[in-house]
C-alpha cells in the first residue's frame, strides 16, 4: 500500500525521480495569495488608470480580463511552472510526466478553474482532488498536470562516532536502510524520543535506554561500512 504522496516518474535517461504531489491545503493557500495579489493589482491599476477617463476604463476591464483568465497561464508557463502565490508556497505545476507545464495544458487547467470553483468555493475541485490519487482537480485531470512541492527539505547527515556493532541477525535491505536513516536524523530528535524509538527495537538490540540508542547507531555504522 502506498503511504506517501511521492509520484515516481521516469526520465528519458532512465532515472526515476519522485515528485512530491501537493495536497489541497497548500494549494488553497497559494490560491489565496494569488487572489490577494490580483486584487491589489486591480486596485493599483484602477487608481492609476482612473485618471485617463474612458481609455482608462477600457484598460481596467482588459486588465481584469487578463487577470481572471490569463494570470495563471502566463505565470505558470513563463515563470517555471509557478504563479507568485505558488512560488511563495514552494509549489510548481508540471505535466504528469514531470516536464514543465506548457501552454495547452496550462490554458486547460486555468480555464477549468471556472468549473472547479463550483459550488463556491472550489466544491468540484476539492471533491475531485480528494477522489483522485494525485490530488488533481478537474482542470488537472483534463490537462494531465500535477501540482508538486519544490521545497528542498534537507536531511543533515550526522556522522556518528558510535563504534560499529554487528546486528545479531541478517537484516533485509529496507531494514538496513531504516537503521541508516535513523542514524542520519538522530540530531533532529530529543534524547527521550531517540530512546522511545530504539526501545521498540529491543528484540534486536537486547538493550533499552541510552545503551539501545548507542547499539542502533552502531549497527547503522556497521551497515554503512567505513569510508
Amino acid at each position: 500500500m502506498k503511504l506517501d504522496t511521492l509520484e515516481p516518474v521516469s526520465t528519458p535517461e532512465g532515472a526515476v525521480v519522485a515528485l512530491r504531489v501537493a495536497g489541497p491545503v497548500p494549494r488553497a493557500l497559494a490560491w489565496g495569495l494569488d487572489l490577494v495579489i490580483r486584487v491589489v493589482g486591480y486596485v493599483a491599476v484602477g487608481i492609476a488608470f482612473g485618471f485617463f477617463g474612458e481609455v482608462g476604463g477600457a484598460a481596467i476591464l482588459l486588465v481584469m480580463f487578463a487577470g481572471e483568465w490569463w494570470y495563471g497561464v502566463l505565470f505558470e508557463v513563463l515563470g517555471k511552472g509557478a504563479t507568485p502565490g505558488k512560488r511563495m508556497m514552494k509549489l510548481r505545476v508540471v505535466h504528469a510526466d514531470g516536464t514543465p507545464v506548457e501552454w495547452g495544458a496550462s490554458i486547460i487547467r486555468n480555464f477549468l478553474l471556472a468549473a472547479d470553483f463550483l459550488p463556491p468555493p472550489f466544491g468540484a475541485g476539492l471533491l475531485a482532488m480528494l477522489l483522485s490519487k494525485k490530488f488533481q482537480r478537474l482542470g488537472d485531470l483534463a490537462a494531465g498536470t500535477l501540482v508538486v512541492h519544490v521545497d528542498r527539505t534537507r536531511v543533515n547527515v550526522r556522522e556518528t562516532g558510535a563504534p560499529p556493532f554487528a546486528p545479531p541477525v541478517t537484516l533485509r535491505p529496507v531494514e538496513q536502510l531504516a537503521l541508516v536513516e535513523f542514524a542520519h536524523r538522530t540530531d533532529s530528535w530529543t534524547h527521550a524520543r531517540r530512546i522511545e524509538l530504539t526501545d521498540l527495537l529491543e528484540p534486536l538490540t537486547s538493550a533499552k535506554g541510552t545503551e539501545g540508542v548507542e547499539r542502533v547507531l552502531g549497527m547503522a555504522r556497521w551497515v554503512e561500512g567505513r569510508g
Binding site: 483568465w69 501552454w103 490554458i107 486547460i108 468549473a115 485531470l141 483534463a142 542520519h184 554503512e224
Partner: protein, 318 residues
C-alpha cells in the same frame, strides 16, 4: 563503495551541477557555451548517481538531494521554450478552420443547440411575442428600449474604447465559461449554448416586436457573424471535454478526457480570437454613424466571409 566515499568522490560534481541549474532557474539565466556543452552529459551522470544512491540505499539525505538535482536538470534540458505566437498565424488561418470542419457532427449539434432557440425566439417576436416576454425580463426589455429605441444614439455616453474593454471582458469570458462547463459532463456547455440562444434570440424577437429594427439590426449586423460563430465553436470546445467523459470510445475515460481537452483547447483559442475580433468590430464599427444600409451590406459580407472561411479555410495549404 560506502556512502562516505561515494559522497567524497562525487560531491564536487554535484556542487558544480547545483550551480549550473541555479543559474538556469533564474529569470533569463543562461550558461556560457563551454558550461552548456557539458551540461547534458553531467545531467546524465546525475541520473546515474541518483539511481546508484537509491539502489545502494545511501539514504534520503543523498537520494533526496540528487532527486532535486535531476528534476531541475530535467526541467532545464527538456523544458519547452516555444513562443505561443510562433505559428499563431498558421494555426488561426489553416489549422483552426480545418479542425472545425473535422468535427462536423459536433459543429452541427452546436449550431442546432444555439441557433435553434435563437431563430425560434426571433420568429416568436413576429408571430407569438408572449414567448419573447417569457424569455427576456422587464429589465432587459427596458435596456433594449433605451439603447435601440427610435431616435436614440445606440451607445449613449460610453466611448468606443471603453466598450471594447467591456466586450472583451464579457464576451470572451462567456466563451471561456462555455468551454469550462464541458467538464461537468457537458451540462454547463449545453446550458450556456441554449441560454445564450434564448437570450440573444429573445432580444432579436423583441426588437422585431417593438419596432427597434432599424437601430438594432444595423448595430448587430457587423459583428454578428464573428461573435455568434465563436459562441458555437466555444460550445464545440466544451462538448469535446464532455465527449471524453461521456463517450471515451476505446480509450480509458481519464485518457480520453485529456485527449479531447487537447482538441478542445485549440477550438477555444480560435473562438477567443474570433470574439476579440468581434469585440473590435462591435466597439468601433457597429455603433458608428455609418448609414444602416452600408452596415447591412458589411454584415452580410461578414457572414459570407465566415462561412467561406470555415468551408474552404486551410484546404489548399500543405
Amino acid at each position: 563503495m560506502s556512502r562516505q566515499s561515494f559522497v567524497a568522490s562525487r560531491r564536487k560534481a554535484w556542487d558544480e551541477f547545483t550551480g549550473k541549474v541555479g543559474k538556469l532557474s533564474r529569470t533569463l539565466g543562461h550558461l556560457e557555451p563551454e558550461e552548456a556543452a557539458s551540461f547534458p552529459s553531467e545531467y546524465r551522470r546525475m541520473c546515474q548517481d541518483l539511481t546508484l544512491a537509491r539502489h545502494r540505499r545511501y539514504g534520503l539525505a543523498i537520494a533526496g538531494r540528487l532527486n532535486d538535482l535531476v528534476l531541475e536538470g530535467y526541467h532545464a534540458l527538456h523544458g519547452h521554450r516555444r513562443s505561443p505566437l510562433l505559428g499563431a498565424g498558421r494555426f488561426l488561418f489553416v489549422e483552426f478552420p480545418r479542425e472545425v470542419r473535422q468535427y462536423r457532427g459536433l459543429l452541427w449539434l452546436c449550431i442546432t443547440l444555439f441557433f435553434g432557440p435563437f431563430l425560434l425566439l426571433t420568429l416568436a417576436g413576429v408571430v407569438a411575442p408572449e414567448w419573447v416576454y417569457a424569455a427576456i425580463g422587464p429589465e432587459m426589455r427596458a435596456q433594449l428600449d433605451s439603447s435601440f429605441g427610435s431616435g436614440i444614439d445606440p451607445r449613449g455616453a460610453n466611448s468606443d474604447v471603453q466598450m471594447f474593454g467591456f466586450y472583451v471582458w464579457n464576451n470572451v469570458g462567456i466563451d471561456f465559461r462555455t468551454f469550462a462547463g464541458g467538464i461537468l459532463y457537458g451540462i454547463g456547455t449545453l446550458f450556456f449554448l441554449v441560454f445564450n440562444g434564448v437570450v440573444l434570440g429573445g432580444a432579436f424577437g423583441y426588437a422585431l416586436h417593438a419596432g427597434h429594427t432599424e437601430h438594432f439590426f444595423a448595430f448587430t449586423a457587423g459583428h454578428g457573424s464573428l461573435e455568434l460563430t465563436a459562441v458555437v465553436i466555444s460550445g464545440m470546445a466544451g462538448l469535446k471535454l464532455a465527449q471524453g467523459l461521456v463517450a471515451p470510445g476505446r480509450m480509458r475515460r481519464g485518457h480520453a478526457l485529456r485527449v479531447r481537452a487537447r482538441e478542445g483547447v485549440r477550438l477555444i483559442a480560435g473562438a477567443a480570437a474570433m470574439t476579440v475580433g468581434a469585440a473590435f468590430v462591435e466597439a468601433f464599427w457597429s455603433a458608428s454613424a455609418v448609414p444602416a444600409g452600408v452596415k447591412y451590406v458589411v454584415g452580410a459580407c461578414g457572414w459570407v466571409a465566415v462561412i467561406l472561411f470555415f468551408v474552404f479555410g486551410g484546404r489548399r495549404a500543405s
